[in-house]
Amino acid sequence: MYFPIADVTVNPLLLMCVGFLVGILGGFFGVGGGFLAGPMMFWTGVPMNFVVGTDLAHMTGKSIVAARRHRALGHVDLKLGSFMIIGTIAGVEIGARFIETLKDTGALEETIGVTYIVILLIISVFTAWESIRAIKMVRTDQIDAEEAVGFKGLAKRVQAINIPPMVSFPHSGIECISIWMVLGVGLITGVLAGSLGVGGGFIRMPLLIYVLGIPTHVAVGTDLFEIVFSSGFGTITHAIKGNVDILMALVMQTGAAIGAQIGATATRFFAGPRIRLAFSFLPLVGAILVIFRLINGGMMH
């Protein structure tokens, strides 16, 4: 099929399959999946300047489907998500300005690439270690799999910080937490997302669980809720710059919608530690892809 906006001919079935695969991952792990969809789209022949924008557009639609499904399952904390959005938007702006400063030094590509790889590897190793520990706790201590978290210390300390105003998130089981901690997590995610040029789902999801103490299923659903807004905002800004092929995004979304439904439904069948263990492989894949891009001298932005 010929896509006149991107001026490229791509097999629509291939795009639907990419959407389907990324949809399953997104629905199950609460990530946008840009780190995987981007290289796949580029591989199908989509010009690089259209890859990021079009991916964000399809991510918006897919996240709507997955977030609605998670909401029906009771996995979305709307209040938490709304507070996080404020911090994230501010963070994205700071991250984008940081990039502009880095551009002047001429070491943008390497600095971002190496930072990205280090962050992804830390997330991957830490999540794998913690989830294996939690699975062992379920087996040996006979505790409920839903409550099993192998690393609770940080979340407890963060929840104990008493800087007003304090808020409660009953849906996530948090009685009292400083609003600054929630905004801070949103801000950190936003800065990383803005400076690394990614949606930030696989940074935000572990932060929600380990720093704020949000249950895994609610972290997945709330993350998707936030992705709807962040990727929607990204779609508009990229489309105004002429970097979005909406028709291509619509075709990809037809596959992603089915995948997102399957992924979101699948979370019902797995307890938190197993979801986190499976999730730990995603940042690893992301890190490998960035290493390849750096070796081949590809562009990060």
Binding site: I5, R68, T235, I240
Partner: protein
């Protein structure tokens, strides 16, 4: 729920995905194919309008597809067959 052999489970899952694919292919033939001229004219005349209509189209399609997939999974009880059964095999809940 009666247990099915793995081969049957995956066969059922494939049938479901096939039904989805037929529906989506019909949608592609009837709707998506004819949007290119309309979108291209906005892309060339006003990028602001293009971005607004584009995001609107994405949201509308997402809601429609969500309705269709939810309907299939609930009312035709697709979630009782392939996908549900395959998930049951790996479930730890």
């Amino acid at each position: 729920m009666k247990k099915l052999e793995p081969r049957k489970l995956f066969r059922n899952l494939l049938i479901e995905i096939l039904i989805y694919s037929v529906l989506i292919f019909g949608y592609y033939l009837l709707v998506l194919r004819f949007l290119d001229d309309w979108l291209l004219s906005y892309f060339q005349s006003s990028l602001i309008l293009y971005s607004i209509f584009g995001l609107g189209a994405i949201i509308i399609q997402a809601v429609l597809l969500d309705f269709v997939t939810s309907f299939l999974m609930k009312h035709i009880k697709m979630d009782q067959f392939g996908i549900r059964r395959v998930l049951d095999v790996f479930s730890d809940r």
